[in-house]
């Protein structure tokens, strides 16, 4: 936390709230001002590469050139109409929302269950299990593709409904990765919840399932929301597997369809509409985040601990 040490909090030796009166501006800065400063700097850092995407999206030539932030050829929305006219963007959008929405919900469900067990129960193979969960993710995906083809060729022969070129096949595959990093993330949060909570609940006669659903889940709501959002973003951007699975133009997801716009020599021709697509892709994520904000930021935990 070196960055924090250098921040005005310590410099000002900031007095605890309401003890001693301090110069007004200084106090404001120590309490709130530095927060805005950090946030604004971070936002600038975050946004400036995105400004180029915006510039390219509005540039009628649609070229990628970071020296010209302001399009010299004027501003146009031609790229937007071209995107919808030339590609199946709307379809990709809907496909992505469905797959990512479903997959992220299901995967937080699976990983929350597992995380609860890993955090609250003691059983043989627990730590080994946790570690293997991590290590399995380490194997390079580009090697696993051969095996994925092997599995799903059989699956497609037997059950075409969940095979190649179906969103369900892809969904199943994503469920394979549900336990990975998310379980680790959630386990960390379950670990921070005081044991006394479930112990007293057990004393009151609650079963393990009741403890999990009624006590634990509401308490980790912020992290469920965060994990859900991360899973959503992760799925929407997932590319390697979706590319293998979805080859019908109508069944593609955003990541796959958009990558197709940029491939090979087309990169320059399509960059303008690609930039539009990139910006539009961010919209569902922002909406999901807005929806989840109330779980992420709320007084839930405070109330729960008191109760």
């Amino acid at each position: 936390m070196t960055a924090l040490t250098g921040s005005p909090v310590t410099d000002a030796g900031s007095p605890p709230v309401g003890r001693r009166p301090a110069p007004r501006g200084n106090r404001w800065f120590a309490r709130v001002g530095w927060r805005h400063l950090v946030a604004v700097l971070a936002v600038l850092f975050s946004l400036f590469p995105i400004a180029f995407v915006l510039s390219a999206a509005l540039n009628p030539l649609g070229t990628l050139s970071s020296t010209e932030l302001v399009p010299t050829e004027g501003v146009s929305f031609g790229n937007v109409s071209e995107l919808f006219a030339r590609t199946e963007f709307a379809r990709w959008f809907v496909n992505s929302l469905l797959i990512a929405g479903l997959a992220s919900l299901a995967s937080i469900a699976l990983s929350a269950l597992a995380a609860y067990a890993f955090s609250r129960m003691r059983f043989r193979g627990r730590r080994v299990g946790l570690l293997s969960l991590l290590l399995i993710q380490m194997f390079p995906q580009f090697l696993a593709i051969v095996a994925i083809f092997l599995i799903f060729t059989t699956v497609t022969d037997l059950w075409p409904a969940i095979g190649f070129n179906t969103p369900w096949g892809l969904f199943l595959l994503y469920m394979g990765g549900a336990l990975g990093v998310n379980t680790w993330l959630m386990k960390g949060f379950f670990d921070t919840l005081p044991r006394e909570l479930d112990e007293s609940a057990t004393m009151d006669g609650a079963t393990h399932a009741q403890i999990f659903f009624r006590i634990m889940l509401p308490l980790v709501a912020p992290i469920l929301a965060v994990t859900g959002l991360l899973a959503f973003i992760g799925t929407i951007n997932e590319f390697l597997m979706a590319n293998v699975f979805l080859t019908d133009t109508d069944s593609k997801t955003l990541a796959v369809g958009m990558y197709g716009l940029l491939q090979g020599d087309e990169r320059n021709n399509n960059f303008g509409i690609f930039a539009v697509a990139t910006l539009l892709t961010a919209i569902p994520t922002v909406l999901v985040f807005q929806f989840l904000q109330r779980y992420i930021v709320s007084g839930l935990t405070a109330g729960a601990v008191k109760g």
């Binding site: 970071s66 730590r127 051969v146 022969d157 057990t202 985040f289």
Partner: protein, 545 residues
């Protein structure tokens, strides 16, 4: 789809299977109060019903295809699930099994399969079986008999269009005569027996049903396999409307276990140790097959100078990269999360939305933009600061640039996670400490940070492990460069994974077996490091135990 969360098992838990390591006397008390909720029971019934339904649905194709092993596996899995969720024992398993089932099918199996290829020569030119290779060699050697005619072809049958035995009706373009051919040979038909359209296609023939394209294409495989022997070779179909007289110049001879070329008389003998057909002078046929090579791939990793030479340097940078990426994003993400974590802060909602935007955009697009920003002559960074640094052209600047890009891409993730973590820390704790007279910094150090670390340390370990193998971060930016002029195989920003990718796939065809062997080495390194750091988290984990 076995996502049953285990309904609330009716009360008394088997001793030692309690979810919480609580004290015995409490458990006894719990036993008396245990209740079964209706919703729990209903959920259990519905979900198990669903499992049964899916199992039955899945069983039919297995029966039809006579895949008895698969059927047994399905039955065992279903029975196992029913047992697990109807018994009161095995509580942890109730929570772990749903995710684990998917994990085993779609992650563990692929990994094991891939690992097993490390002991083979699996790769381009050696993907299939020996039989595949022989078929490929023979097919590739079919040549049109010099000077032979091109025939117009019509596919016909004597029986039902869908099942009757197939024949070829071929028209000689020079004479216009029509012959009928099947596996026994060619027989001429009289001109009055057939109706021939201009261009030579037969539209009707006495005693035969002519197949249209749709009907014929449904029996594509039979058509491809039908070879009509002739004096000079054999008539084969080329599509559905032409036939040609061709011979397979090369054929497999089981007697010598070799491929023989009938034109030149050359032979290529099968070499089972390398999985290829090799001539006496060392010439190798391109089409080979997959064979086991034992530990050869592993010894190659250890003995190949190209790999072992720069290994140490790459490994050190690899660690620096993983630690730098994880640490950088963690510090920045936490700092920003802390800054926004205050009831006095206004506009946090807007800040948060803007901050996660980088994470919401397809990373391959943003990596392109970053690459462009570091451009020596046209890039924003040099233009902005009036520099002319060749960022990706020098070792240390390239490394710094890669880490900066990683920071940009990854810190929104840490920011979100830290935000969630901070919310989960009861505010009473920090408030209590500030009432005790601690400065914000002190209360951060003594209360917030330790709790944050408990929540995030598992994540930091997994983030480290992820970044250790973060192929895309390097491959989409520097591609491992800059490279020393005299060594194009190992660059300054190469991770072990990008480096080995280049070795295994950059040459003449992909070498999956070799790549798998290297991956196993890397895997071992990551496993040891992770296991060691994981041991150290045990203390933290037990903080409340």
């Amino acid at each position: 789809m076995s996502t049953s969360p285990s309904g609330p098992g009716p009360a008394p838990q088997a001793p030692g299977r309690e979810p919480v390591g609580s004290r015995p006397e409490k458990r006894r008390a719990a036993r008396d109060h245990a209740t079964t909720t209706m919703t729990g029971l209903a959920a259990k019934v519905v979900l198990l019903g669903l499992v049964a339904g899916i199992a039955i649905w899945a069983a039919f194709p297995l029966v039809e295809a006579e895949k008895w092993v698969g059927l047994a596996l399905l039955a065992a899995t279903t029975a196992g699930l029913f047992y697990l969720y109807l018994t009161r024992r095995h509580v942890p398993a109730k929570y772990l099994v749903p995710g684990t089932l998917f994990l085993v099918a779609f992650q563990v199996f692929p990994v094991l399969y891939t690992a097993s290829t490390a002991f083979t020569n699996f790769g381009d030119g050696h993907r299939g079986s020996k039989q595949d290779a022989i078929v490929a060699i023979q097919t590739a050697s079919v040549k049109q008999v010099p000077g032979s005619a091109e025939y117009a072809l019509t596919v016909a049958t004597k029986g039902d269009p869908a099942t009757g035995p197939l024949v070829f009706l071929v028209t000689d373009p020079a004479t216009g005569t029509v012959s009928v051919g099947d596996a026994d040979g060619l027989r001429r038909l009289g001109p009055d027996e057939v109706t021939v359209a201009p261009g030579g296609k037969v539209t009707a023939a006495d005693g035969f049903t002519v197949l249209n394209f749709g009907q014929a294409s449904a029996r594509s495989q039979e058509i491809t396999e039908l070879v009509v022997p002739t004096a000079g070779g054999a008539l084969r179909s080329s599509g559905l409307s032409r036939a040609y007289e061709g011979t397979a110049v090369r054929a497999y001879d089981a007697g010598c276990d070799c491929i023989r070329d009938s034109e030149t008389g050359r032979t290529w003998a099968a070499d089972e140790s390398t999985g290829s057909f090799v001539a006496a002078d060392g010439e190798r046929l391109a089409q080979g097959w997959k064979v086991g090579v034992g530990l050869r791939n592993f010894t190659r990793v250890l003995t190949d100078e190209n790999i072992s030479g720069p290994f140490l340097g790459t490994l050190i940078w690899n660690f620096a990269f993983a630690i730098g990426s994880t640490g950088g994003t963690f510090i920045l993400g936490t700092l920003v999360a802390l800054a926004l974590h205050s009831p006095r802060m206004r506009g946090t909602n807007l800040y948060r939305v803007l901050l996660i935007l980088p994470y919401a955009m397809p990373s391959f697009a943003m990596l392109l933009i970053w690459r462009d920003m570091f451009n020596t002559d046209f890039g924003l960074i040099n233009n902005l600061f009036g520099l002319s640094v060749n960022w990706f052209g020098q070792e240390w600047s390239a490394r710094a640039a890669v880490l900066l890009v990683q920071l940009w891409l990854g810190y929104p993730y840490m920011f979100l996670v830290a935000t969630g973590a901070l919310q989960a820390i009861p505010r009473e704790l920090t408030e209590a400490s500030s009432v005790d007279g601690a400065s914000p910094w002190q209360s951060f150090r003594s209360v917030t940070m330790p709790l944050l670390l408990i929540a995030l340390s598992p994540l930091l370990i997994s983030s480290f492990a992820y970044n250790f193998n973060n192929f895309n971060a390097i491959y989409l930016t520097t591609e491992g460069g800059p490279f020393p002029a005299d060594n194009p195989t190992n660059g300054a920003t190469d991770l072990l994974i990008t480096y080995t990718y280049r070795l295994a796939f950059g040459g003449q065809g992909a070498e999956f077996g070799f790549a798998a062997a290297i991956s196993l080495f890397i895997f071992t390194i990551v496993a040891v490091v992770s296991a060691v750091s994981f041991r150290r988290t045990r203390k933290q984990e037990e903080v409340y135990a």
